[in-house]
């Protein structure tokens, strides 16, 4: 069976694209059934691409607002069209900011409340296990993933945030090491994000934005492999869709990556 193709987008200033390519092609490897390829930001044709990752970095130097310029690039127009047809799209860190600026996810990012660039591992709780990127995680599972950002202080107006919670759009939430909810235990909220949102999905579930970097936690050498199952989930989801069966959210247990 041939691998599904994941397009990893590079904007001027993107700096995590090679890491994502490595995580998918080497760390996840053949197990994932994925082949990641580089896609330049001027690309307008995404035919042959089954899913897209918008990696982190500083697209366009964060000029004007993080992600604002990249959101208007030719490739994002194509991503928007395909996302509306159900293609899985993952935005990591600056990629999340780009998805917000492009209107593919609701809300906006403010500077971290500490006014510091934060670069450290955090713990997040998996709140949704039925998205293409999270189906191999357990409900409420606690992951250790690194964050590295200046603007991850998520904002949505209170009524909108309520609506997001009702629709279950908060896919990942900052938490303590034992899953303590950072909405209650503010000490576990690294940046001040409303609703302690670390990752957000669209109502359909195919677009996911998150501030933590799963590609930096896909190999034991890097201290955590908790991000690896994002790629394995995607591979399973795409394979299931290709075979015309639903990608069942099977709970695969602690060592679900099977490696």
């Amino acid at each position: 069976m041939s691998a599904a193709t994941v397009g990893v987008i590079t904007f001027p200033g993107t700096n995590c694209d090679r890491d994502v390519l490595h995580a998918i092609n080497r760390a996840a490897g053949r197990d994932a059934g994925l082949e990641a390829v580089s896609v330049w930001h001027e690309e307008t044709d995404l035919s042959g691409i089954d899913a897209v990752v918008i990696p982190g970095g500083f697209s366009y130097g964060d000029y004007l607002r993080s992600g604002a310029i990249a959101a208007l690039s030719p490739v994002m127009q194509a991503v928007r069209e395909r996302a509306c047809q159900g293609m899985p799209v993952l935005g990591i860190c600056n990629g999340f900011q780009i998805l917000l600026e492009a209107g593919l996810l609701p809300g906006a990012m403010r500077r971290n409340r500490t006014l510091r660039f934060i670069c450290r591992p955090v713990t997040v709780r998996v709140e949704r296990t039925d998205t293409p990127f999270t189906l191999l995680y357990g409900p409420g599972e606690v992951l250790e993933l690194p964050i590295a950002h200046f603007e991850g202080n998520y904002f949505a107006w209170p009524d909108e945030l309520d609506a997001l919670e009702r629709r279950g759009q908060v896919a990942l939430r900052y938490c303590g090491p034992r899953g303590e909810d950072a909405r209650v235990h503010d000490i576990y909220n690294p940046n001040g994000a409303a609703g302690a949102v670390a990752g957000l999905t669209n109502p359909e579930g195919n677009v996911l934005g998150l501030m933590p970097h799963p590609e930096r936690a896909s190999e034991s050498l890097l201290g955590s492999r908790d991000g690896l199952r994002m790629w394995l989930s995607l591979g399973r989801w795409l394979a299931a869709r290709r075979e015309g069966r639903p990608a069942v959210a099977t709970r695969a247990g602690g060592s679900a990556d099977g490696r």
Partner: protein, 84 residues
């Protein structure tokens, strides 16, 4: 065609916590300036525009602000033109 300088002022919307503004407020307080209840920090964008009229210049600047220069979720804006 005339040239106009249009200033777009982009500000964090009322009710949206602005961390840089809040840090500046507490610094002002530490310096002993009393009574500063809130500081909000925005930006001023100067556009050098060619347009038929001042109204047209303002209208176009408004469209640019809505589309790109401000993020309507957390920012508000106003536009002002300077006579050529």
């Amino acid at each position: 065609m005339a040239r106009f300088t249009v200033f777009v002022h982009v500000m964090p919307r009322q009710g949206v916590l602005d961390p840089p503004g809040e840090a500046t407020r507490s610094a002002l307080q530490a310096l002993g300036f009393p009574g500063v209840r809130e500081v909000r920090i925005g930006r001023r964008i100067a556009l050098d525009l060619e347009a038929q009229s001042r109204e047209e210049a303002l209208e176009r600047a408004r469209a640019m602000a809505e589309r790109l220069l401000a993020n309507p979720v957390i920012e508000s804006f106003d536009v002002r033109a300077e006579e050529p």
